[in-house]
Amino acid sequence: MGKNILGISAFYHDSAAAIISNGEIIAAAQEERFSRKKHDPRFPINAINYCLQEAFIEPGELDAIVFYDNPLRSFDRIIKNFIMTGENGLAQFEKAIPSILGVKLWIQDYVKNSIGTLGKIDKLLYSEHHLSHAASAFYPSPFDNAAIITIDGVGEWSTSTIGIGNGNKIEMLKEINYPHSLGLLYSAITYYCGFKVNSGEYKLMGLAPYGKPEYFDLILDNLIDVKDDGSYMLNTEYFGYLDSLKMTNDKFNSLFGGNPRDPESRITYREMNIAASIQKVLEYVMLKMAKYVRKDTGMENLVLAGGVALNCVSNGLILKEKIFDNIWIQPAAGDAGGALGSALAINYLYFSQERKLNPTGRDSQKGSYLGPAFSNNEIQAFLDRNDYPYERIENGDTRFTKIAEALSEGKIVGYFGGRMEFGPRALGARSIIGDPRNIETQSKMNLKIKYRESFRPFAPSALAEDVSKYFEMDVESPYMLLVAPVKEERRLPFDLGNFLDNDDDMIRIVNKARSDIPAITHVDYSARVQTVNILDKPDYHNIIKKFKEITGYGVIVNTSFNVRGEPIVCTPLDAYKCFMRSDIDILVLEEYILHKTNQPNYKDKENWKEEYELD
């Protein structure tokens, strides 16, 4: 008998829930999308509610409910850390107690109280943090067997693990333990460069192409000792997270010659060079580790998860070096994906269910379109109830052509279609899209929609069948987890050369055309590519295809459907609000098209911008 399993990840960062039935991923979603609080760490009551809705089952029909990590082991780490570092650890200990003792030990009660049951076995199961990551990487992958690398900040005691997946089994081979953590090193430098830990890592990666890796040796000589097999030790004397609430300490600061950058101050050459250096260190470790794992396991396939697996630059490099024949990366690589992984782990390792690969040879992640969808009936009910003017175009061909025409005229479109994405990236279900050829697309999207200037360009969505026409890439990247260079012949001469080390100048530079698709080309000619396959997302594929028929380009700009600091939109109401709060020209809600110029004045809260903490 197939099993219904609910997986929950909560209380640390970006809570989520996932449900599987008979091995099939039925639904998965992050709590932030429902609560509208970015990276909401609270118990994911709304995400669980949604999962049960999608599966349309009663909680009593669940065979098991599983929590993504072992709270007792995390607690153990906190205690040992306290003992190791003595009194200075007290501040951190006290801060951790309410979240570990007060909350994590009461998880079972939380679950029982909030959904009324613990399922058929009447007890809450616990997975282990890195097993959850490993399971999220291996089981949905298209591989019958693969090497597994998980790597993140910290989960329980492990910070990196290596394992093997075979059929329905996962075997963990090696682990690197806290406080030695590549993820925390990256986060420490994220913090030092003035970005937010747990969300600014992506910015640091985007900053790297501006700098030179001048601190590469300094980092390797002082902060991290990397062995030939890719294992490593951190020199903990430099880090603050062991004995204080800060990521770095004075010793760290003097190594880089100064205090951390104030988040609101300008970005200087120093941060650019540090960003370039840590990126190079990360790649250095990842490549060593990947090579070692290939040799040690003999596996041809590699699967990756854990927050560090979101670093698409290093992923792209592993691919380019052809260390493995095939790579698959879990798109919800962070802890949210642990909800999915823990449910899969219980299905195969606890209930010993048979694992069936997707017969098409593709993965089983369903394009990561695992969140709620809204029917045309529901959208019309919403629009009619609020009396918002719209045009309904039932014919797909006509509708997609209309959207593509608008894009080609330089219009910015908020596109809402099908099931919402699971994981941090918008993949064409909740996306703001534009024309990549248009030099103004980038600054318009930045200034009038996201309300921030950025030194990072946007990401492209390209027809999977056409991707190698634009990028030096011959594999699919459906989850925007790989970076690839823009084709040589599309590049325009451009020299990063000398520029003033301030934000304005970086923005001037990033706004300069470097290719015939400027809005998505980074200063090093790289792009974070999403390939769109008609099998995964026919509606979105069709829009790009129509755009190609009009313009000759099978690629568009894709950024997440939200304003700065806001979680990606989930419902038609969220989408409408974001549409009215920004300069998006056209909103598409399934078959309904809304033009900004027709909309009545939107009565909004005056302080709506304060709703969202800046990222």
């Binding site: 509610n49 349309f56 909030s114 959904i115 709620p372 009936n377 529901e378 009396d387």
Partner: protein, 330 residues
Amino acid sequence: MAQIFEYHPVFGYRFIPGVKARVLHEDGGYLVKANNVGFRCNRDFNTKNGTDKFRILVFGDSFTAGDGVSNSFRFTDLLEKYNDNLEVYNFGLPGSGTDQQYLIFKEYAANTSYDLIIINVLVENIRRIVSHYRNFIDGEGNMKIFMKPYFAIDNGGLILKNVPPDKEPIDISKLDSEERRKIDFGGRFPQLRNFLIKNNYESIFHKLTRWKPYPEYDKENNDSWQLMKSILKDWVSFNNKKIVIVPFPHYYYTEGLSDPVNYLKRFSELGKESNCDIWNPLPYFNELSLQERRKFRFEKDVHPTKYGHEVFSNYLRDKINSFMNNIKLN
């Protein structure tokens, strides 16, 4: 919370056709699924004769639609579950009055073939039929007031008003004080009630005051009752042999907090006048202990629990069986 209702030009609003949702609730949550025409029913309505099953159409408000429990745990679904020969269509609409339910009948059911119609009149509905507006909490938690269809009595006949109702919410400040009193905020003293429920004082309060929750039933010539009677008489006149009325008791009556004698008297008079059956489940409920009866409703929410639905469906099953036997005998 996701929107699950949409505008309807005749009876005000309905479930969004085809909508699937799980509504968070004090007991966890419950699954809602609406059919092709926007009723919380697992089956699409078949208006033709088609089947050889005994077809029952049920009308009512949230107690019938099943607020608080999943579709499959409602009395209508339980009736089907335990008797393969029954086909039960649930036309319940949360928050509606008997007037809107009558409009639903005329719109969707008058031309449907049926063997029995059950009008489940929650006694509180007498208050809903006199209201002209009702409140609605939107997706952002704001209260909006919408027009509600209703009937007025004119020269002894019923006149339909507020149809089609405006799509947009109304501006209360533009209503005169008379009309303002016609807004249904739910219950008689909604704020007081919420306070009492929240603090578990309600039963004490009722005992101390010997509360009469619905004085509208006290006198035969009460305007509200006259209106209720006219609506039901009109409705029953479609087929008084196949339409039965169930005056469904609020918990004040099932838990012995108020005396039901007056509302029962009114409904029995109505039964005689219109020559239709009145099915009163109260004696059946009272066979259970007070402790058991308390379990009919949730801790805070007054809607029937799974158990409440189960007991009611047991009651109806016996009534329906004898109804079917009577048909065979005739």
